[in-house]
């Protein structure tokens, strides 16, 4: 049961409609009229709640659940207790996510211009946008339809933002073109001048950074993350990519589509990351390297050179994960005389 101070519940919904919306099969079609009022975890769900079983190791919890209905893989439906209707789906967590969005739909922005927002006369703002207090929208900015520009966000001259975007509180954006359905969490800084300077005996000379930040559609960027603009080429974040909190992305970096970049990762300038790559928390990537598509980089790894598509890397400096585990084991054995833990 979610806290009503923070969450608005949209239900109830009949199971049949939930099955249809999620592409699930009811194990017993006669259950299609059962009404569900909310979603809940297996162990706390009641008979008017919808739950899910995603991981075999929770089968015992599933056997004892009081949930009225449950998303489950077809082969596990046999374990359902008598009072629990099964919604069979090959990816129950995905189906649950879709259903939970029915009960807790993301609020659409309500057309609104806060009196304390400062919007330049030359800015173009689409229909049904909410511009909150203290938002600052500069000259020639273009914002699409159904966007929410949260409190104190600062959007600088010329920035373009597509439809259905959510720009968090205290975000700063400059030198950027942002596509549709992009969500920036609070404190994100997009487009500052990258870390580019010439060095000689007299100190540093700033090199004007003349590129932009391009953010493709359906990207989400976590709180206080920073993305520098390109030095000449652009910095690009590919479609669908999810970036967590406190991540640093340097100038000219290209991130592919549908990557997952966990908190506190740092990516140095001009590095390229392929599609569907996953970077674990606090991993660091040197500059000017290429990380292949589908690569999996373990948390805290340090990447100093290219890795091919599908590589699984670990350690600092990173090596293939198998080798990293062997190294860990060998070192433990040398130090203790015993066989080391496998990390």
């Amino acid at each position: 049961m979610s806290d009503r101070r923070f969450f608005s519940l949209a239900g109830s919904f009949p199971l049949g409609r939930i099955a249809e919306a999620t592409g699930s099969d009811l194990s017993d079609p006669s259950h299609g009229g059962l009404m569900m009022d909310d979603v809940a975890p297996l162990d706390t769900a009641e008979k008017n709640h919808l739950s899910f079983l995603d991981n075999k190791k929770y089968v015992d919890v599933f056997k004892a659940t009081k949930a009225g209905a449950c998303f489950v893989r077809p082969e596990l439906a046999v374990h359902a207790p008598a009072g629990t209707a099964c919604l069979m789906h090959k990816n129950p967590y995905k189906a649950y996510a879709v259903a939970a969005q029915m009960f807790y739909p993301q609020e659409k922005p309500k057309e609104h211009r806060a009196t304390s927002a400062v919007i330049d006369a030359s800015a173009k703002i689409g229909a049904d946008c909410a511009i909150e207090d203290g938002a600052i929208i500069g000259p020639n900015v273009k914002i699409g339809n159904r966007c929410r520009i949260q409190a104190h966000a600062v959007i600088r001259q010329g920035v373009e933002i597509g439809d259905d975007c959510d720009i968090g509180a205290h975000v700063t954006i400059s030198h950027a073109l942002i596509s549709n359905k992009v969500r920036l969490h609070p404190g994100v800084c997009i487009g500052r001048q990258g870390f580019g300077f010439a060095i000689d005996a007299t100190g540093f000379t700033a090199v004007p950074q003349l590129g932009r930040v391009i953010i493709e559609s359906d990207v989400e960027i976590g709180a206080n993350t920073t993305i520098d603009r390109g030095a000449g080429p652009d910095t690009v974040i590919g479609q669908g990519t999810r970036i967590d909190n406190l991540v640093q992305i340097g100038h000219n970096v290209k991130i592919g589509k549908y990557c997952v970049i966990v908190a506190q990762v740092g990516i140095s300038g001009s590095t390229q990351v392929g599609d569907f790559a996953m970077l674990g928390g606090q991993a660091g990537l040197a500059g000017h390297i290429k990380i292949g598509s589908g690569a999996k980089i373990a948390a805290q790894s340090g990447l100093m050179r290219d890795v091919p598509d599908g590589a699984e890397m670990m350690g600092s400096p990173a090596v293939p994960i198998r080798q990293s585990m062997k190294q860990t084991a060998v070192l433990a054995k040398l130090a203790t005389g015993k066989k080391g833990d496998k990390a």
Copy 2:
């Protein structure tokens, strides 16, 4: 001598009153009437200054100090120079801290509502609160007494904050219940939706994050730190815990009481940290693990599995600190033929 542009000095105080307030014993009770005007380090203190000796290795500095009075462990008082009165206490640094707070008391907020603050009519704000310029306080927010809500802080719908809290500039808070005496430094982001989504071949589907952030009393959270709300369970920060700058705390994490979490630590989702644990800077904790009470985790360690109460861990992947030091030594020896440094 502190800079009067930034600090207001409250003294002077007689030594007797200082001894009483700090639970110290004057080595010579006749010194109770000596007036102290300020606090200062041993090496720069003058005869109207109060200092402290906490670490034996500074005994020589103590012997030469011109401080009028000094907190010192009883057994070290014998080294005091002639002009220095001794305030004996088993924890001189703690006693000094209490005394320094007498000279530099934290300013109480003065009842104030800045004209540029935007406060929803349904918000309830206690007595003696200072609401600074640009602060935004949403519907049904409850704030206790004697709170300071600093400039441009954004507090979203339904958030509850106890008494004597200090909410820093540019802080964003949503989906959170905050107890008394909590201090959030500038740029903190509390309660954003965690990094939760279902993955399949079509990309990511957001899983509504239906939990909250619970912050118990007397917690302090450093600048630009991010704490995500729970996915269903809550994210909890236990009483008295101190969190430094730029720390990331994922959804569903439970931190115990009186923990110390140093800058740039990252804690992944659903991990639990026991009471009185200490996490060194840049340490990373994997998700779904348990760190025992009183555990000490060295800086930059990577924790990938449970550790018991009182464990002292180091390295990435982390091993017991003794083993880590052996590994470092063995590896150094192998590489150089010489005995390695102990780290």
Copy 3:
């Protein structure tokens, strides 16, 4: 060609003037009248564009460039294609930087006080300053000439800022003295109380932090970086130093002149870093240590003790870089039976 939505081009300039401004020698003085309209990389430059060759490995690109003119080291000018005038300089990247600044000069602030800025009557602000919307300037603040105080920046009581400074959006500054030509990117937090407290069985007692942050001239500090004020001594950032995004600098830290501190570095309290040191991304420095002048610290290194001037360190715990590479190789060999990669 830069995006005109974001960048204003100041040209055109004759090559002779560019040669003079950058201290370059034209390989053919008769080219002094050629007009250049913009800067561009070698591979996309056209005949009215100015480019540069800094790295020998791009000589083949240079041979094929269509750039009208190019900065180049004297010994490489021989490779210039027929249509490309050469501007010879021993540091072509530096010369390019200076020229690019001619084409894209940093905009001078235009005297402006936004109506929504809140400026205390006792604050003193110099000539030709732009104070943007939502900026908050406290009592007794002093700001020099030609400063830009960006949107929603919060500058607390008594802070002093020199001439030609650029204070980014959502910056918070307290307890700080800032010299000339300092640039703070968005979200920087300067001067919060450091992580200082006495510990005993009852919890933590805050030790009043009575120092300041001193930032010398020509320092640049990246987005969302945090710098705590001193505990008694000051925290000092030396002249010309460049600090990247998301860096943490603890109380009492002294950074020398012309250091480069890459993103996500963490420096613990009371540590000293000499002049011209370079700290790679995500490196962590323990407290109370000294890093020598000119030291080079590799990314992700963990420094736990002093290192001498000019040291090159790597690993966690850090060892001299040569030794670190040997250790990596030895460990790889032990684990695989093959000779390890040199990291």
